[in-house]
């Protein structure tokens, strides 16, 4: 009985912590984007506008919750939950420090991937249930986009699992740091009868291809610019969310930010050595790495225009998926023949270079030619006459 109580308490703490995280993300995004665009961001509510997300939340919750008369009420009500619940549930098995996890699972990565897929259903139902054509279009876009980018995401996770020899997130993180630091986790897992490979190098160094693919696929998974196609505000006005207001909308909002945080956290756990780091407490290192990845995601948002759906799909199927399969093959070969670690880095960097060159040929070179045909250089102002 006490175990159940303890678990309930842990879940409550997790829920609270995540809510605070979302509030912080909202503030950071607005402030960071503001700075990128040379404005101040929120300044009025609280010091440095720190209470702005709280004010937003209060506004959202007290707003009237409209339900369109033509909508399918049951689906309309269930859809936000289908999106929110999985994005909370995955956090049960994500360790923010060695012991700071609600319930560590041996198949943690598998569970996370499995739960991530559920949100597609939620978006699709939200689009359909709201009886709005923008919503329907957005829902279908979401299904197409998320299913397509699920594949490279899973393949990268598979490659990482091959490298670490485990689907346990603690093992994956421990695998990336020097042996003496990771010894206790190693012992613990071995004592439980589990196994994992010890690499001793962050996978960002060992497998940079994976990090790039994971971030790109992750951006598409959470629908951030340049992949925010399924709720593209200037085209389909919010897609599946178009008819939602008040608390229902804030649920989608919450899920979106938690998924952003999830992708950042997974990137730091899978590629940056998770919570390991010198001097500072473990959970601080985890937060530093995760928030760094979050800032990268926000930075991309402030920089790029949105892709079109056909461009997105061809980028996914012709670029991301073959590359992610190549990643799996690479890691498997590396693991099977037990080559030295730099061979893995080399293969990975070489693949990235080839992919980069292809992208350069495909997209940058025509733009340079276009610019030169007008006597200009990309990224430079015209010379004064």
């Amino acid at each position: 009985m006490s175990e159940v109580l303890l678990l309930a308490l842990a879940l409550l703490i997790m829920f609270t912590a995540l809510s605070v995280v979302v509030l912080s993300l909202v503030w950071i995004e607005r402030k960071f984007l503001g700075r990128l665009q040379r404005r101040l961001g929120p300044t009025r509510v609280g010091p440095f506008g720190l209470l702005q997300p709280v004010a937003d939340a209060i506004k959202l919750v007290t707003k009237e919750d409209l339900v369109p008369s033509q909508s399918d009420r049951l689906i309309f009500w269930i859809a936000p939950l289908l999106v929110l619940v999985p994005s909370f549930m995955v956090w049960v098995t994500i360790p923010a420090a060695r012991d700071l996890v609600v319930q560590n699972l041996d198949l943690g990565l598998f569970v996370i991937i499995a739960l991530l897929v559920v949100s597609i259903l939620g978006l699709l139902l939200a689009g359909w249930g709201s009886a709005n054509k923008y919503g329907a279009l957005g829902g279908l876009r979401a299904a197409a986009q998320l299913v397509s980018y699920e594949v490279p995401l899973i393949m990268v996770v598979v490659a990482v699992a091959v490298l670490a020899g485990s689907l346990d997130l603690r093992a994956v993180s421990a695998s990336q740091v020097p042996l003496d630091t990771a010894q206790d986790v190693l012992n613990e897992i071995n004592a439980a009868g589990g196994v994992f490979n010890h690499e001793g190098i962050p996978f960002a160094v060992l497998f940079p291809l994976g990090l790039v693919l994971f971030l790109l696929a992750g951006l598409a998974e959470v629908g951030r610019i340049p992949f925010d196609i399924y709720f593209a505000e200037s085209e389909i006005v919010g897609g599946p969310f178009v008819e939602y207001s008040g608390a229902h909308w804030s649920v989608f909002f919450l899920a979106e930010y938690m998924n952003t945080f999830l992708i950042a956290a997974l990137a730091s756990l899978l590629f940056l050595g998770g919570w390991y780091g010198p001097l500072l407490p473990e959970w601080v290192w985890f937060l530093i790495k995760t928030y760094f990845m979050v800032l990268v995601i926000f930075w991309i948002r402030g920089t790029f225009p949105r892709l079109r759906i056909d461009q997105l799909m061809s980028f996914g199927w012709k670029g991301m998926i073959p590359l992610s399969f190549a990643g799996v093959v690479m890691t498997s070969v590396y693991r099977f023949y037990d080559w030295p670690w730099w061979s893995m880095s080399l293969m990975s960097v070489a693949t990235l270079a080839v992919a980069g060159y292809w992208l350069y040929r495909q997209f940058t070179l025509p733009v340079i030619k276009l610019a030169r045909s007008y006597g200009r250089e990309p990224g430079r102002a015209p010379s004064a006459r």
């Binding site: 040379r38 033509q70 054509k133 200037s234 225009p305 997209f363």
Partner: protein, 379 residues
């Protein structure tokens, strides 16, 4: 739910075999740049057919003008193309001046050129920002509005209003420039050039942006001419036609400037013609500031304007294209009839053809690239 499906299909059941969706884009839509409505027939992501609907912002400006005295009509002209107020005022004032045979003092002409060209930059900056937004880029709009805001601050210093200036009067301008105008301009011009360069560097040759806009919404020059296209949209097709060069008015002959011309007539070319026009406009303003002299700014005093009986047509190069003002006077103090040929309306007329068989996302890009102002389309 049967009602749900029927609504989605938007058609009678016997015709609904092809599963097209009939979709309203606008009048309330973030990317229709006002209250424009398009009825799209969508097959998945592809627009099969598009039907534009206008008239949501019709205020009857032309009819209203018949009940106002000539100097009062200027305020109505302000509200046509509300992004380029000075250029509209200018076209109307020129029409009345031509009818009355008024000589506008040189200083007033220079003031009009400076403000008109600055207004062109402001208008194009607004276009650049919102076009970025249409493409999903959220930063250019912030950069562009900074530049536009500087210009509007100057306009406020000159005319007392950020928009709807009512500053150009028949026979000149309302009053002379403020005393610190030269100081303001000395401060504004370098900042403005930097703002324009910033936006240009950020967006023009961004790979994703070019991928989204290049080759989208192309039109050949003959079709464009037949639709009555003018301004940057026409020049993007490779037609070197600019009223300032073709039929020079005011003091434009005294300035050296190029008319930027595009090649393929697609959305990116339309965008890039405008970007290059901003540099040209800045150069015109700089030249005008150098050669501006003192003197009166008004040909006639503030007395009742009563042109002789007759009619007149003038045209001018607005940021959006050629504006035409046809004015009929019956000899009283109020115009008998005013007909405005708005550039946005003619440019917009091709929208159905342009959007057909493109993606939904392209429809937004194409509409954005035409840079319409609904106040002018509907009048």
């Amino acid at each position: 739910m049967a009602t749900n499906s029927d609504q989605m299909l938007g058609q009678a059941p016997e015709q609904s075999q092809n599963l097209d969706i009939l979709m309203n884009m606008g009048p309330q839509h973030p990317s229709t740049h006002g209250v424009f409505r398009m009825l799209l027939r969508v097959d998945g992501e592809v627009v099969v057919d598009a039907e534009p609907h206008i008239g949501y912002l019709h205020r009857g400006s032309e009819k209203l003008a018949e009940g106002e005295q000539y100097h009062q009509v200027v305020t109505l002209m302000d509200r046509l193309d509300y992004i380029a107020n000075f250029n509209n005022e200018w076209a109307f004032c020129r029409a009345v001046e031509k009818l009355m045979g008024l000589e506008v003092p040189e200083r007033a002409e220079y003031i009009r050129v400076i403000l008109g060209e600055l207004n062109r930059v402001a208008s194009h900056l607004l276009f650049l920002g919102t076009f970025g937004l249409d493409a999903g880029a959220m930063t250019p709009v912030m950069f562009a509005f900074r530049g536009r805001e500087r210009i509007q601050a100057l306009f406020e210093a000159v005319s007392g209003a950020r928009m709807m200036h009512n500053y150009f009067h028949i026979g000149g301008v309302k009053e002379d420039l403020p005393e610190n105008f030269h100081a303001l301009m000395d401060k504004l011009m370098p900042e403005l050039r930097r703002d324009v360069e910033e936006c240009d560097k950020l967006l023009s040759f961004n790979e994703v942006f070019v991928a989204r806009t290049k080759g989208v919404g192309g039109i050949d020059r003959d079709t464009a001419i037949n639709y009555g296209w003018t301004g940057p949209c026409l020049r993007a097709c490779g037609v070197n036609y600019d009223v300032r060069k073709a039929e020079p008015y005011s003091v434009y002959q005294r300035f050296k400037f190029d008319v930027p011309v595009g090649r393929d007539g697609d959305s990116w070319e339309r965008y890039f013609v405008r970007v290059r026009e901003m540099y040209e406009s800045l150069s015109i303003v700089e030249q005008a500031m150098k050669s501006m002299s003192g003197g009166p700014v008004m040909a006639v005093g503030r007395r009742l304007i009563r042109p002789t009986k007759g009619d007149v047509y003038v045209r001018a190069e607005n940021p959006r294209g050629e504006i035409g003002v046809y004015l009929v006077s019956d000899g009283t103090d109020k115009p008998y009839r005013i007909k405005v040929r708005p550039p946005s309306f003619c440019n917009l007329s091709a929208i159905g053809r342009l959007i057909k068989d493109t993606y939904v996302a392209d429809a937004v890009i194409i509409l954005g690239s035409l840079d319409i102002v609904l106040g002018e389309v509907d009048r």
